[in-house]
């Protein structure tokens, strides 16, 4: 039993925090969000330089062979600083799917770029009107000659516009399949927008898009388990990110109630606020425990069911806790917590989307019970 980060994990998180403190302050982040791409190339290059894009790739793929636990402290730092660059989507979803299902040639074509930061990937998994269903249905892949024709719609694809390639899930006659798609190809239409917490996303429409046989990742019809695995992995990273954001909301709120004076005393001297602050802390610690368990199971569970159940437990607890912590952090800040001027309102948005992205508490409760 040892719940400490390893020396390497801690050093990496420390140097990342140092970088973020200098280059990703609240004001600097605002500038990134309002820039044309909504994402900082400099930050992305720095993340790649630190090895964040390579940690969870296998050594054979040029990575360090790490797991979700190795990225936990990194993701917590991302959550604290509200980083919007799509590391999670690249290493947790699209990059992981490519690395785990792609051929040697496909990996050779894209993974070195992913590692050095010159290539960005995005996963087009969700479909309009189908909530969190990971099995593609509204996007089809039809064999055409030696290649495929893709048709359909994907939604909420994070980082689609800046991606070099999309990893698109589609229903082939054989079943769920994954394809590498150039987002700028004719036949691909992006409808970009921004999420409430500042991520750049796009709906993706594929109209009679002809791709070659070399676009298929793995064998047709066999993508289901890989998608589930990558999604669980991404959920574990999201949990860690959310823990970081929750901790930051707790810290900011604690500072605030110690400083803010009313009736001649700090409002933190009032027991009713103290007890609410304590509940925020307990919620965060309980969620942190299950986030650790989820990351550990993602890395080493004996079965997919064991892995998915731990992930869904964490997602339920993190969603419930994020809701309570975010709502209380704004309440305890009073009117100031409502304004865009304080970081806590931005953290509130991040904590709100935490339960919207990869399945809300109800979704994961159902999954948890079904796997029990």
């Amino acid at each position: 039993m040892n719940f400490d980060h390893s020396e390497e994990q801690q050093q990496l998180a420390d140097s990342l925090r140092k970088y973020l403190a200098t280059n990703y302050s609240f004001e600097q982040r605002k500038a990134i969000l309002t820039s044309a791409s909504g994402s900082s190339d400099a930050a992305w290059a720095a993340f790649a330089e630190m090895g964040l894009t390579a940690i969870t790739l296998s050594e054979a793929d040029g990575g360090f062979g790490g797991g979700a636990l190795d990225l936990m402290a990194v993701m917590e730092a991302f959550g604290e600083a509200l980083v919007v660059e799509p590391l999670l989507e690249n290493v947790g979803l699209a990059g992981r799917l490519l690395a785990r299902t792609g051929s040697a040639a496909q990996k050779a074509a894209w993974l070195p770029g992913l590692i050095d930061g010159s290539v960005k990937l995005a996963f087009a998994g969700l479909e309009p009107g189908r909530r969190y269903d990971l099995a593609p249905a509204g996007t089809t892949a039809t064999p055409e000659g030696s290649g495929w024709v893709l048709d359909g719609a994907k939604c909420m694809v994070v980082g689609a516009a800046s991606a070099t390639r999309l990893v698109v899930s589609a229903a082939a006659p054989q079943g769920s399949s994954l394809f590498l798609v150039d987002p700028h190809a004719a036949g691909v239409t992006l409808n970009p927008s921004r999420t409430v917490d500042g991520l750049r996303v796009a709906d993706v429409r594929l109209a009679n898009l002809l791709v070659g046989a070399d676009a298929l990742l793995g064998t047709a019809g066999s993508a289901g388990p890989a998608i589930e695995e990558a999604h669980d992995f991404a959920c574990a990273l999201l949990c860690a990110d959310t823990i970081g954001a929750m901790q930051s909301a707790c810290d900011a709120t604690l500072d605030y109630i110690k400083q803010r004076k009313q009736f001649g005393v700090p409002i933190g001297s009032f027991q009713v606020l103290q007890h609410r602050m304590v509940e925020m802390l307990i919620c965060t610690e309980q969620a942190r425990s299950l986030a650790i368990l989820a990351a550990s199971k993602v890395d080493s569970a004996a079965t997919a069911a064991e892995r998915s159940r731990a992930v869904s437990a964490a997602m339920v607890k993190v969603a419930d806790s994020a809701r309570q912590v975010s709502q209380e952090s704004v309440q305890l800040h009073g009117g100031m917590g409502m304004t865009e001027e304080l970081k806590v309102s931005h953290t509130f948005r991040r904590l709100t989307t935490a339960a919207l992205r990869f399945g809300d508490a109800d979704h994961h409760l159902e999954r948890y019970a079904a796997l029990g």
Partner: protein, 401 residues
């Protein structure tokens, strides 16, 4: 990070589990899992069995009969007790009184009391709370005055204690009493003293709780003469002793093992009960509540292990971490008792007191204990420092508020 127990720890767990399986008397296990109160004889019989194995006081120094286990082993030991349906020994003697004696007791007091506590010769109870002194314990009024004449080598105790758990079983009671009502700081007028409950002038009166059970008592002291050598630490140092005890709460206060067993019983019951022809456990409304409790308990287990790991490596006492485990642990216990009652539905209505009589006829033995059990467990968020007091402790110690 490594969330697993070491091979040695796992082997230790198996040893405890195997021993409990072979040595926990069936009738005692049945009383625990069937929610019947234990008699004094049950407790002392179980204590003797543990003492014979050398496991009655694991946390004591080895020279006094402790096992020398580290805190992880002690945690595992507690958890296995909970899982097995083995009653933990009441903490008043082995955990509380003994910790005080080991730290503050005179050599004579240690020699006189510790072996008997270890062997389970006496049943110890606690005299802290008073009718007017609950969370604000330092306001206590029960007096111990130096006697005169024939009682010049004695304290004479007058006053009342309340919520004395299992006081009707008590052979000995340790009390906080006021030895100086003029002390400038009220804490400085309090002393810690050991009282033989056979001393004339002591009356124990039951307080029957809403579950119908006799578990707690009022204890009245009317000119009770206690030898001065029963004073532990110096006169006026009782508050120091009480605070020392607070720092000795166990990491097992989340009751993870017991709650795991209760949760399994809940699932079994919800699997038997039918709703619209299908097991209740498949009912989405019920199942979601059950899943949330299970998830909270999963989290509590990891949180307990994290604190354990931190404590082991820093060597620091657990401090306010224990308060967090107590709050969530008791909440989980209470949620499970409530869901158990709900799972039984109409069959949870028959009333049978926990410690009286036999249940007979068509009334199911088990389900008729679920509502009383739910009633009884409202105590969990009140006792051992109410959950509100625990939040005060966290606010002060962890958050600096």
């Amino acid at each position: 990070m490594d969330l697993s127990y070491s091979a040695d720890e796992q082997a230790f767990r198996n040893e405890v589990r195997g021993w409990l399986d072979a040595n926990l008397p069936d009738d005692i296990r049945a009383k625990v899992t069937g929610y019947h109160g234990l008699s004094k004889d049950d407790f002392l019989r179980w204590h003797k069995i543990l003492a014979a194995k050398g496991w009655s006081v694991p946390h004591w120094p080895v020279e006094w009969g402790g096992t020398g286990w580290d805190i992880t082993q002690r945690y595992i030991y507690d958890e296995e007790f909970g899982l097995a349906g083995a009653p933990g020994l009441p903490s008043f003697g082995p955990a509380m009184c003994a910790s005080v004696l080991l730290k503050f007791g005179s050599p004579e007091q240690k020699a006189r009391f510790l072996p008997r506590i270890r062997e389970g010769d006496d049943f110890w109870v606690q005299g802290y709370s008073e009718p007017g002194s609950g969370s604000d314990l330092a306001s206590l009024k029960c007096r111990a005055d130096r006697g005169t004449g024939a009682n010049s080598d004695k304290y004479v105790i007058n006053g009342q204690k309340i919520w004395t758990t299992l006081g009707h079983y008590g052979d000995w009671i340790f009390c906080l009493v006021r030895t100086d009502s003029t002390a400038e700081k009220r804490q400085d007028g309090i002393s810690f003293i050991l009282v033989d409950m056979n001393t004339p002038g002591i009356t124990v009166r039951p307080l029957i709780l809403m579950d119908g059970g006799h578990e707690v008592n009022e204890v009245f002291f009317d000119n009770v003469a206690v030898p001065v050598e029963n004073l532990v630490h110096d006169e006026g140092k009782g508050w120091t002793v009480a605070k020392y005890l607070l720092g000795h709460e166990r990491m097992g206060s989340g009751n993870v093992g017991g709650s795991k067993r209760e949760l399994a019983a809940l699932k079994e019951l919800a699997g038997r009960e039918l709703k619209n022809g299908k097991p209740l456990i498949e009912d989405v409304r019920f199942r979601d509540k059950l899943s949330r409790v299970e998830i909270e308990l999963d989290a509590l287990e990891i949180t307990s292990m994290r604190f354990l790991d931190k404590m082991r490596r820093t060597g620091q006492p657990p401090g306010a971490d224990v308060s967090m485990l107590k709050i969530r642990g008791t909440e989980v216990q209470q949620m499970i008792t409530e869901l158990m009652m709900q799972a039984a539905g109409p069959m949870a209505q028959p009333f049978k007191a926990v410690s009286h009589g036999n249940v007979s006829g068509s009334i199911d033995h088990f389900t008729s204990r679920l509502a009383p059990r739910y009633f009884n467990y409202r105590k969990a968020s009140i006792y051992a420092g109410s959950n509100e007091i625990q939040r005060n402790i966290i606010a002060k110690m962890s958050l600096g508020l």
